[in-house]
């Protein structure tokens, strides 16, 4: 490697810049480069100094470049090069890479140098491509789950018509098959609703506001009790639990957790369900929903929050859904920057935790 040019400070500064730097004199010849430029373009310093800067410009843009370069000193402000154009650099092996280049003029006292800071943006472009691909995938999932509703409505509908209008002809067995079609259609509707929610949620913006979680929990509990007024369950709700959250989404979280607690305590004589907060180092708010129901095998804790997973057979708990409730919970909580986990044991109840509003983000 050659010794850096005279002015030590300037050279040191040039080396400290994270971008590749190429300084050009008014005649378009390279005067200075830094190590990052050597690495980026694959040339040694000695091979660049004194050469025309066009050797770093892809063939397609090379012919134009000298005229652009000549115009720069007329309006020598710091600015991105080729605004709105897709720029590229040319490596020694003639390969090219997408680049972001910003220009500034440096008055050295012996004439003006044009300094170009060059950044390889391959990774950024790939990220953008990935984002675009995932967005179009989400849109596809949404469209499919939407379109599948129509045939599903027909399935449920005609089975319902069979039951209502031809129940007598069908006989008991025939009716039970038609009833199963209706029930399965409903399950599939829930799955489609989940898919729609998932595809939509990742795009939806959160509308954060101050929410009293215990007030929400109390409202949900009231609704649940109204559905099965004969069940006796002791509810304990800590008050108040203020948080910053998207009120609609956080309601879905609480609904799912409290619904589960209600469902899985259905065989308990002295069922109790508790909503409260626990101390937590990482988050501003850490809530839990605890029940003394059937619990779960901790070995499967990780599976709890995965979509379409159920730990209890539909036969044992007919009201059990499609295994998407806790997956929704996790998605929403993570969207809020929090996390979810569960503690429990078979026959010893379950506690579901979620955090909100991580401290570092406030």
């Amino acid at each position: 490697m050659l010794t850096p040019p005279s002015d030590g400070m300037f050279a040191a500064l040039l080396e400290a810049v994270p971008d590749a730097m190429v300084c050009t004199a008014a005649d378009g010849r390279v005067v200075l480069v830094n190590a990052q430029a050597e690495r980026l373009f694959g040339y040694e310093r000695a091979e660049l100094i004194g050469q025309r800067v066009e050797m770093l410009v892809p063939d397609t843009a090379r012919a134009e470049h000298p005229s652009h370069l000549a115009m720069y000193p007329a309006d020598p402000q710091h600015r991105p090069m080729g605004a709105g154009l897709a720029l590229a650099g040319r490596r020694r092996d003639a390969s090219t890479f997408p680049a972001e280049i910003s220009l500034s003029a440096i008055d050295t006292g012996e004439g003006i140098l044009v300094a170009a800071a060059i950044r390889d943006v391959t990774a950024q472009l790939q990220t953008k491509d990935l984002e675009r691909a995932s967005e179009s995938q989400e849109r596809f999932i949404y469209a499919v789950s939407h379109d599948l509703r129509a045939p599903l409505r027909a399935l449920s509908g005609y089975s319902g018509v069979l039951l209502e209008d031809y129940g007598g002809v069908l006989g008991e067995e025939g009716r039970s098959y038609a009833e199963r079609i209706v029930a399965v259609s409903e399950q599939m509707r829930d799955l489609l609703d989940y898919l729609m929610q998932v595809s939509h949620l990742s795009r939806a913006e959160l509308h954060l506001e101050s929410v009293d979680l215990s007030a929400e929990a109390a409202r949900i509990v009231e609704e649940i009790q109204r559905r099965e007024p004969d069940r006796r369950v002791r509810f304990t709700i800590q008050q108040p639990v203020p948080a910053r959250a998207d009120s609609g989404l956080i309601r879905t979280v609480l609904e799912n957790l409290l619904d589960n607690a209600w469902k899985f305590t259905s065989r308990q004589d002295d069922a109790s369900i508790e909503f409260g907060t626990a101390p937590n180092e990482d988050a501003a708010v850490c809530c839990y929903v605890r029940d003394n129901g059937v619990g779960f095998d901790p070995a499967y804790e990780g599976k709890l929050f995965q979509p379409f997973q159920r730990l209890h057979a539909a036969r044992d708990f007919p009201a059990t859904g499609t295994g998407t409730g806790l997956a929704s919970v996790r998605q929403i909580v993570e969207l809020h920057g929090g996390r979810v986990w569960a503690e429990g044991a078979v026959g010893a109840g379950a506690t579901f935790y979620f955090t909100l509003d991580e401290k570092e983000s406030t």
């Binding site: 129509a150 409505r153 027909a154 509908g157 018509v161 209502e164 209706v182 409903e186 509707r189």
Partner: protein, 155 residues
Amino acid sequence: MTSRTILLVEDNPDDEALTLRAFDKSNIHNKVVVKRDGAEALAYLFPGEGEGEGDGDDAPTPALILLDLNLPKVGGLEVLRRMRADERTQMIPVVVLTSSKLEEDVLVSYRNGANAYVRKPVKFSEFTEAVKALGVFWLLLNEPVPSVAPKLGLR
């Protein structure tokens, strides 16, 4: 009351069959005219205009229009917009009955002058209930627009 026509704009034959049956089962025996795309619906509402099969008769005034959004040729939102821009159909109650729950569809429907927006339930019993409720509300409970209104120049 049975003389008051319902216009059902629906391209899905299954939804059509289930809707007609739901009316029937709910003892709503009004005449139901079915149009299977937006262009057909516009030709029916504005006879003699465009490529419609118009015969120069007065434009019909259905007592209620159930309008799907996703329709062949001319979409539901465009049908709605054209209806609201015309004095003859400006005040006819329009209920958007669709699978979509996109916020944007709901918003544009109301902006274009929909009187209600109902998402078609998948579950058979809920679907039947929804159709019945719409029929009962718009044909029996709701006070219709007086037929003299256009002559008075009311808007």
